[in-house]
């Protein structure tokens, strides 16, 4: 049964990074191939820096490391946000779409890469569609839904081509403006 949230005490501001972390946690926990995360294990230094054991990054790492393949980036592209006010008490909501972009290495064997990206895609889509509110742990998140992105595609980074899969994850957050709106 789908549960929609009702009027609860709302937070005073959105929690976008926490929402992205919830997405990251879902991907790490539920996007499994052969019972394990398909994303590359991070070095101990990077695991400590990013707080996760596998290459599912929040944002696009400035220094793309192809040591970490397959890898996944969750990031918010330009011009996907909407913000609106509703109700008398200064209730606000905002939407964003995160892009989920998965990279695999096709240099040594393109056919193995093709099978790998498809297996990750097939594990990823059910995980993205599973949660109505990103697991329910972020009080601002009232709705979320996976949507198609570019799908299977190619990207060139640092002079090399990678096989990719892209989906979108739409999220709506809600909060109340403390004290209501003022003149």
């Amino acid at each position: 049964m789908t549960i929609h949230p009702t009027a609860l005490a709302l937070p005073a501001q959105p929690a976008t990074f926490a929402a992205l972390q919830a997405m990251q946690s879902i991907i790490l926990g539920e996007c499994l191939v052969g019972g394990a995360s398909p994303f590359a294990a991070l070095s101990s230094a990077d695991a400590s820096r990013y707080g996760v054991a596998n290459a599912v990054f929040l944002g696009r790492p400035k220094d793309f490391k192809d040591t970490y393949l397959p890898q996944c980036c969750l990031w918010i592209p330009p011009e996907t946000e909407a913000v609106s006010l509703s109700g008398y008490a200064g209730r606000a909501s905002a939407e964003f779409e995160a892009l989920i972009l998965v990279y695999v290495d096709l240099r040594s064997d393109w056919y193995a890469a093709e099978q790998q990206i498809l297996s990750i895609r097939d594990a990823l889509l059910p995980a993205l569609l599973h949660h109505e509110r990103l697991g329910g742990g972020i009080s601002t998140v009232i709705e979320s839904e996976a949507q198609p992105g570019r799908g299977l595609c190619y990207e060139q980074i640092g002079g090399s081509e990678y096989r990719c899969f892209e989906a979108r994850w739409w999220v709506r957050q809600q909060w109340s403006i403390t004290g209501g709106r003022l003149l």
């Binding site: 070095s43 944002g59 696009r60 790492p61 400035k62 220094d63 793309f64 490391k65 192809d66 040591t67 990031w75 592209p77 240099r107 990207e155 060139q156 980074i157 640092g158 002079g159 090399s160």
Partner: protein, 104 residues
């Protein structure tokens, strides 16, 4: 232009060769920084020439080279270059177009 030695890692984190003598030159000194990866990856471009023959493990695309003698002023870490194009191999040296990420 810089004369130094580099450490070859393939992939990054796995050192294959150390002390490779090279000459490093900006590919286009008058150029502004470049970006790829949807704007998230700003870099400068350099040519790296090996100056004492072809290394025993020749450079390849996607190799990572760490300057063993100079740090990146933005990060205070050893300057790091990624081979971004096909290295050209001659009888007595290699030439590789490389990218250095700006900042950390």
């Amino acid at each position: 232009m810089l004369i130094t030695t580099v450490r070859l890692e393939r992939p990054e984190g796995t050192a294959l060769l150390r002390g490779i003598p090279v000459q490093i030159e900006q590919a286009a000194p008058q150029d502004l920084e470049r970006v790829d990866f949807a704007g998230a990856r700003p870099f400068d471009a350099f040519w790296i020439y090996t100056i004492q023959g072809v290394p025993s493990i020749p450079l390849r695309r996607r190799d990572v080279l760490f300057d063993e003698l100079n740090t990146d002023p933005d990060t205070s870490q050893p300057a790091k270059y990624r081979v971004a194009g096909l290295p050209e191999t001659f009888d007595d040296h290699q030439e590789a177009l490389c990218e250095r990420i700006i900042g950390g």
